[in-house]
């Protein structure tokens, strides 16, 4: 009997402690990437954790293992059910959050997007790394600077179903049509999520078009594939590779010359800004048109009409400056 009551007491204490922990007043911000296990989102996670530590919040990072929007939505739903105060999602597609927006509002959970947007879904705001248009333009402009206006350029994207990637491609095509009418931009080809397929497709594109001057890898997973393909084909210098690649991934290819440059923003900063935005939303604070969040070294802009919180301009990395960046 003695041990029984001890066990009962212990269990009761455990339950009490765990329920108090559950009721703890720490504000919680979560971020749901498109897929886990990618350095890009890992960098966002690191930034988010830094901000959470600084502002005294709980940061939760959870993502699907494949690019299925239903899996992503399940995670978002669970976070809402858990009572997380603010949930940021890098949406695979608007349908990743559309069905749960109402449920979120009912539970006083703020739903907002980061890194990839669902504009008409009713999300609170969108933390943008750079405007989609800015990103599309930057990569085309830099390419034309290097290969000229009459060149043929290929595009290797990741998943055909990723809305943010398709948005960037759309702006690339629009920019080429508007500003460089003599530029020949090939139809995008989709490599899925592996470096192998990206390399395979990049190689085939170069074979099919021996006059190809540039290759753009749109998803971060295509970067190693494109770079590798250029190296293996011995076309360093003849074909300029590029993509939205992190400096760490692109470094080897920038140094070897297969990549001429890379366009990106700092995902760590984006993660940091996301958590900061989450806190503003939880506290109900108005975000001014221009502000410098605590802990960041440059201002960010906010457009209240479209709900877009902009990190800044895209950065261009080259072999010269890539060593200054460690992500």
């Amino acid at each position: 009997m003695h041990t029984h009551s001890k066990v009962a007491l212990l269990t009761a204490a455990l339950l009490a402690v765990s329920s108090t922990l559950a009721l703890a007043a720490d504000k919680k911000v979560a971020f749901v990437p498109q897929i886990i296990g990618i350095p890009y989102f890992d960098a966002m996670k690191a930034g988010g954790e830094e901000a959470a530590a600084k502002f005294g919040l709980d940061f939760i990072y959870q993502g699907p293992v494949d690019t299925n929007p239903v899996d992503q939505m399940q995670i978002v739903q669970n976070l809402i059910d858990q009572g997380v105060n603010a949930v940021a999602v890098s949406v695979l597609d608007a349908s990743s959050i559309a069905p749960v927006v109402e449920a979120a509002k009912a539970k006083h959970v703020t739903l907002f997007t980061s890194d990839s947007d669902a504009p008409k879904s009713g999300r609170a705001l969108y933390v943008a790394q750079a405007t989609d248009e800015g990103l599309g333009n930057a990569i085309i402009d830099e390419m034309v600077r290097r290969v000229g206006e009459y060149a043929k350029i290929g595009i290797v994207s990741g998943e055909a179903t990723a809305s943010n990637l398709n948005a960037w491609i759309g702006f690339m095509q629009a920019r080429a049509k508007a500003k460089y009418p003599k530029l020949k931009l090939l139809e995008p080809q989709y490599a899925g999520g592996t470096a192998q397929r990206a390399a395979q497709i990049a190689t085939d594109l170069m074979t099919a078009n021996p006059d190809l001057k540039g290759l753009i890898g749109v998803a971060s997973t295509t970067c190693p594939g494109v770079g590798q393909a250029i190296e293996t084909a011995g076309k360093i210098g003849k074909v300029i590779g590029t993509g939205y690649c992190s400096p760490n991934t692109a470094r080897a290819y920038l140094k070897s010359g297969s990549f001429g440059y890379s366009v990106l923003w700092d995902p760590k900063e984006l993660g940091y800004l996301t958590v900061w935005a989450g806190e503003q939303l939880i506290d109900g604070k108005e975000i001014p048109a221009t502000t410098t969040p605590e802990g960041m070294n440059h201002p960010v802009t906010y457009d209240a009409q479209t709900g877009v919180l902009l990190l800044g301009e895209p950065a261009v990395f080259t072999a010269q400056n890539v060593d200054n960046y460690k992500f």
Binding site: I36, G37, I38, P39, D42, V65, D66, A160, E187, Q189, Y190, A191, G192, G193, T194, A195, Q196, A199, Q200, I201, T203, D204, L205, T207, A208, P210, T221, P224, G225, Q228, T232, A233, N248, T249, R251, A252
Partner: protein, 331 residues
């Protein structure tokens, strides 16, 4: 026996013809198809699938299957990558691939054979376990920017041919010899034909089954060495599509899924045809998104045509209780 061989050669000849015809069509559509560089590209793209397909041929021959081969390749690739990062000589790191694959093949074998779980279901479960293993081993990130030592090893040429061609030829040759001239081969086919009868005949069924899985694992590990050398990047989704592609290629090649009949040459042609189509379609301007559709249609057309022309032994395919047992797994 002669008719048996004849039926074999028909499928392989069909595939070879398919390769040639597609090649011709693509050369017309694109002047860059028939260049030595492009043909070499096709060969290089086929490397991993050729090796994995070889292992899958043995497994199908025995009446089994393994849907986790892509993840086995992934785990082996991570092992190789980590060794390279740690500074081990590339040649040794490359050897670690088949060794790791062998070990994993052993694990798969134990679950399937000693657990007596049908292969398709057991390997389905293991697929999940291995994928989680890949994530753990990668530490949630990628392996990229690996030292180029292994890549340079791959660039070595013997008599003008890349080292991969020789390794693959050796692998196929070794398996061919084993299947044709050793008891292992005879046992394998007998078990695939009818496990119960093989057991009654005194064949060491378990031994042969384990051997098949282990060999397949080792071949996946070997493919991993080539993968790391060629692409230099190991990400979480590595090998996701390989298992089903391998099954498709092997079946295209004439190996019976029911077991008891294999064709190594057919597998090789099947793989090459698949990769050739993928390459040629892109060169011909067909968007890459249609490639899986072509794979599926090819599979259905070839097997459907054979079925319609009445060449398949329909009596064999009509499932009996025992036939169902060996087809879906190992019991």
């Amino acid at each position: 026996m002669r008719a048996f061989l004849q039926r074999f050669c028909e499928r392989e000849a069909l595939l070879a013809l398919g390769c040639i015809v597609s090649g011709l069509v693509f050369s017309i559509r694109s002047p860059y198809f028939a260049t030595p560089d492009n043909l070499l590209t096709i060969a290089r793209n086929s490397t991993e699938l050729l090796l994995i397909g070889l292992g899958m041929t043995l497994l199908l021959g025995i009446g089994g299957i393994d849907v986790s081969v892509g993840s086995v390749l992934g785990l082996a690739a991570i092992g190789i990558g980590r060794l390279l990062e740690a500074g081990i000589t590339p040649a040794l790191a490359a050897l670690a691939g088949p060794v790791a694959g062998l070990a994993l093949g052993g694990v798969t074998a134990s679950v399937v054979i000693f657990g007596r779980i049908p292969a398709i279901v057991a390997t389905l479960g293991l697929l999940g376990v291995y994928r989680a293993g890949i994530f753990l081993a990668l530490g949630g990130s990628w392996l990229s920017g690996l030292p180029v030592g292994l890549t340079n090893l791959l660039a070595v040429r013997f008599f003008g041919l890349p080292v991969s061609v020789l390794v693959i030829a050796l692998a196929y040759g070794a398996v061919f010899v084993a299947v044709r001239f050793t008891p292992f081969g005879a046992h394998l086919l007998a078990i695939g034909n009818s496990e119960a009868k093989a057991r009654l005949a005194g064949i060491g069924v378990r031994r042969t089954q384990v051997a098949a899985f282990v060999i397949s694992g080792a071949l996946c590990g070997l493919a991993a060495s080539f993968y790391v050398a060629t692409y230099g990047n190991v990400e979480m989704t590595i090998g996701a599509t390989l298992a089903l592609e391998a099954v498709a290629a092997v079946v295209l090649g004439g190996t019976a899924v029911t077991g008891g009949r294999i064709s190594l040459l057919g597998t090789a042609f099947g793989v090459i045809l698949l990769r050739l189509l993928q390459n040629g379609l892109l060169l011909a301007g067909v968007p890459s998104l249609w490639q899986p559709v072509v794979t599926g249609l090819l599979l259905l057309l070839v097997l459907g045509a054979e079925a319609l022309s009445g060449r398949l032994p329909l009596g064999r395919l009509r499932p009996s209780a025992l036939g169902v047992a060996r087809r879906a797994g190992l019991r």
